[in-house]
Symmetry: C2
Subunit: 174 residues, 2 copies
Amino acid sequence: MPHDNCPSCAAPDLAFAAHDHGPCASDALARAIGILAAKGLRLTPVRRRTLEILLEGHRALGAYDVLSRLASEGFGAQPPVAYRALDFLEEHGLAHRIRRLNAFTACMHMGENHSAAFLICRVCNAISEAPATPSRAALDSAATAQGFTIESATIEALGLCPACQKAPLLKAPA
Amino acid sequence: MPHDNCPSCAAPDLAFAAHDHGPCASDALARAIGILAAKGLRLTPVRRRTLEILLEGHRALGAYDVLSRLASEGFGAQPPVAYRALDFLEEHGLAHRIRRLNAFTACMHMGENHSAAFLICRVCNAISEAPATPSRAALDSAATAQGFTIESATIEALGLCPACQKAPLLKAPA
DNA sequence: ACGTATATGTTATATCGTAACATTACAAGA
DNA sequence: TCTTGTAATGTTACGATATAACATATACGT
């Protein structure tokens, strides 16, 4: 599969589809660099490395997983080092927090200022970002009916990715 | 407001509406008793008390909040006591886990075997259970498009309840 | 009453997250 | 270039959330 529409294609998402992940990740990094430059924000070494680590796969990593990677590469070894980098990435739309897993994953639609929904495979832990607009619209409407104003929404689904439905425990998409 | 349709009315949900919470809570408890009896499960003292504590308000409580209440009433004082009771209640549809807050709240639609969405007020911490069906349907459709099979979904919105939009920091619905 | 499954309680530890403060790198003006 | 304020990194220390493993007690069917 070409990466013409990767990693920030409009649709469909491709975390579960076979694809050449090298360009997928490096395109995302390039895009992140552009986005931060445009905002006058700095992609410092820790931040950049943190993003690269998240971009290694379409999966979620715990803050402490990221931290041990960073520490082993000479960065600080204390939790705030990882949390600050992850929070920064999340704040600027380059990563997402997956609440179900208390973990983080790289954003696959950087710069699109989207409301995301996540599909989380409980077997191989792969994560795909799905279009959340319809779901979010329905949620907004339910909220409005109660006079509630939504500021941010968490929409996450746990289940089985295509590969794990067929070959449980065997495959792990990049 | 009468509690004809409380706490397990079809719609709309009333966590944010003024209502007589006494019957709201005791009706829910009665319903829980019936549900468990029908399934041959036991609402033991810890479980019952845990549910009562959750039913005191339309809000989420952390496991340790519940634990300290239980402990002060003579139940066990160690985390598993609270987590087991909370997990039991959740497993049988009497309570929900609010991922966003790492907390738990009583279910307001016991026995309806529903997929729930939650509206969480970030000011007064009140929680309302909203109809999740439309939102969930949209999510299912997004999942199907990627060949993903959803087993369970987390749909939570953070924002402002009606009271806190008008009088921030002042009111706290029962 | 007995035996078994269920539930409760405990100790201990794992995992996740943040407050507070010291130090270092950076950019912008004198 | 030097200063100087701001942002970023690093540290210690701690708080909050959650579970594993095992001991004890309770309920229920026979």
